[in-house]
Amino acid sequence: MELVKREEIFPEKEEKERKVAIQKTLTIVTFYLGDFLFGLPAEIVMEINKDIDVTPVPLSQDYILGIINLRGQIVTVMNLAKKIGLDKEIIPKLGLIIKKEGEAPISFMIEEIGEIVEISVTKLEKPPEKIEGLNKEYIKNIYQLPEKLLLILDIEKIIEF
């Protein structure tokens, strides 16, 4: 009995260590909305769609554009720019489908997709007191890429209802 327990514990420990090792870098999918470059962890990005046919749902929140048919599944489409208080008019063209464990998938409307980047966890910074042009509470971290500042979105906060 004792022995079994130990055996069970060991791989867990190893995995923990592995996890820490992995967490040292994060794979981030980046995309553009207006002048901003945003990022979300690649693990929650399911797919990117264009030419999406949104069916509006009257009486819903202003940041909800409606619903789409994603291979038989009903997926909510969010006007991400509106949700995070981006004060600039943007023309969303693409749907970034996000699936978080235990949540229904949701599609964020974005303007343009950027690169997929590996970032070092240790270089993540807290967002500044104020970010001009959008609501800071939805930004989890910022990260300085060689050419541009990457804003990592707080996905929990965004899809919180």
């Binding site: 069916t55 009486l59 619903i67 048919n69 038989g72």
Partner: protein, 856 residues
Amino acid sequence: MNFEEDILQDFLVEAKEGIANLEEGFLELEKDRKNIEVLKLLFRTMHSLKGASGFFGFKTMESIAHFSEDILSKLRDGLIEPEENVIDILLKALDYIKYIIKFIEENKMEPIENNILDFLVELSNFNEILNKKIKEFSVEKKVEEVKGEIEQKIEKKLEEEKLLLIEKTEEKDVKEVPSIELVETHIKVDVKLLDQLMNLAGELVLARNRVVQLAQKITDEELSRSVQALSMITTEMQETIMKTRMQPIGTVFNKFPRIVRDLAKSLGKKVNLHLEGTETELDRSIIEAIKDPLTHLIRNAIDHGIETPEIRVQRGKPQEGALILRAYQEGGQVVIEVEDDGKGIDVEKIRQKAVERGILSYEEAISSSEKELLSLIFKPGFSTAENVTQISGRGVGMDVVKANIEKLGGSIELNTIYGKGTTVKIKIPLTLAIIPALIVTSGEYRYAIPQINLKELIIIQPEKELLKIGHTEFYRLRGEVIPVLRLSEILKTNGKEVQKNLVILTTGEKFMGLLIDKIFASEEIVVKPLGKWFKNIPIYSGATIMGDGKLALILDVVGLSQFVGISVEEVEKKYEVSKKVKSFAEETYFILLFDIGKERIALPIALISRLDKVKANEIQISGGKEVIIYKNEVVPIIRLDNYLPIEKIPPQDEYIVLFFTEREKTCGILCSQIVDTIETSLDVEEGIYNYPGILGHKIINNKTVLFIDIYKIIEMYDPEWFILKKKEKIKKKKILLIEDSSFFRNMIRNYLELEGYEVETAENGKEALEKLTATRHFDLIITDTEMPEMDGFEFIKIIKSTPDYEKIPVIVISALAGEEIRKKILELGVNGYEVKLNRERLFAQIEKLEENDGVS
């Protein structure tokens, strides 16, 4: 199917499985008589058969299985050799078991036949011989001769036995046990497999819809025929798959007798539980989900509802409380009722508690109707139990019950009569996955309306047929006034300019109209849930994928009805500062409020056919009377100030005219302005304005509002107005009118008297019975249903069971509408049923009765 039958089914399925195993095993044994594994299996199977048949009290079968098991155990343990005669008798035993199972399946009991009993004796003897053989073999193992002798003896005896049996069977000319092939009627299937099938069926329906749509674009007879075939097969398949998931509600109901008995015992109460409609079938997922809510309701009924035997006796009830659990199908829904004859719910106590707990302010509590107060029971944290008991009354529960039922797409309703009992009525859909729906459009998008909520479709001319008063529009559907919503307005989208399609919807309780742009099609839709972002929008119950891959939102009719409700309630709150709560408070009507000069007047909207503006210079004088030309018709104009003690209507450039039409005659009533419409009860105060044409008054928004008797006023204007054909009445008919609302009582009495009837009135059933006893003879009884002291239902029941009165025709007038109520009322054996406020129809009923009377 009841519980017993249910488990009997299980038993039969298992027995057949066992028999199949045995047959296979014996076949194996033929090949290899020493196969110990097969012997073990045979033993085990026979053993389970013995146990199961013993449980059901199938004694013969149990015995056959018992001896067979015994023999098998000897074979298994190597005590005897698997010789031909042993296998033979075992196979024979199996044949008998098969025969018995078949018989049980058909007759639900064991066969009582001599040949079976004879076989049992044979089997028992055979086993006995084997026992002896084993004993002797082990004790006198060495004495070979003896063994041989015994063996001979056994064989001889067996031979004899066999011969005997053959003789016997030949004698009786009974065929030997017929070799029966048991047909498998039940198999076990993994529920997950069924769920998957269900999903696939859903997808197939969608694919079918797509094909149907594509095929419509191509005119090819062959294709359209195949598509039609595909379509039909798909529907049938889907229905069949759905059926595989259906289970009788008895599987849940049958758990309750035990719960009820235990609970009643622990509370010192006596409860008699009746189960009705246990065979009603429901989707298994729903069956699972209603178990807890039902348990809760049953506990409540016993704990809070049914009184202790002593109290029941004091109250003149039988010692044993009655608890009825009833299920039945209605349309695409299943209705489950939990009914008890206990003490009912004290609405006044709820009122008091609501104030104590700060849920309602004192003013709110005073002005709340019974229905509103009862609905508080479903609010979280509200309980009226004086003692918190272990069983229920912890202040949690009913809100959870309601939430669970609503999660299933169902509704819950509570009716109670204080002192007499409570009925909780749950309505749930048969299945959740696929529903028939009407697809309509608003703007460029489609919406689905579940068929279950659909009453009828009407093409109307909105500008002519809709009556807009205040913010609400109304449509008159065969005498009933129903509020109308415009889908495009609710959705805040751009609808077509002229919307002619009116969909009449029902929530089960009330009707409403929904104006839409276009009716698209009737389709089977697969309900898909909407995400959490839309949970707070009451008007959707989900979404569906249409044949072309686009989405349509599914409208929630109950949610939509709240849209009528909200506005009306708001208006009501605004206007009604003081509202007295009376027994008929829940009987509410849409009332039109209008002004004549400074006076505020009220009329039920149902009485008004149209309203329109008219310029002062359009009012002409013809034959000494004021008239207007309205839609090519001469319509006389009535000024209320000529007949009522109110100020003259001040001159205006433009007036409002309320049109009143009966039997194709129309007149108009002139008024200064329309104030609004409200939904309110008609509990008017009498006395202060005691004047012909005024039924009473009521304070609404701090202003005295006069409720007028339109019939009386029109009669004052023209006594001949209502008299179309002057009939010589042979005898003055005497009518007993029972109605608790003074408004209706007086109005109906007035117009009955106008027609030449002699009318006696009573305010409730009890008073009516007194009147009946005093004045033996009445030609007709007209009664309301909802009344204090004794309601219409009880009153009619008494009338119909009293020889002196049973022949008096009864017409019921009720504020309650809907098929269910109609059915309930007509079941009482009454002669007619009319919704209140329809004079024309009431007279038609009376005339019909008189005609019949004349014939007989």
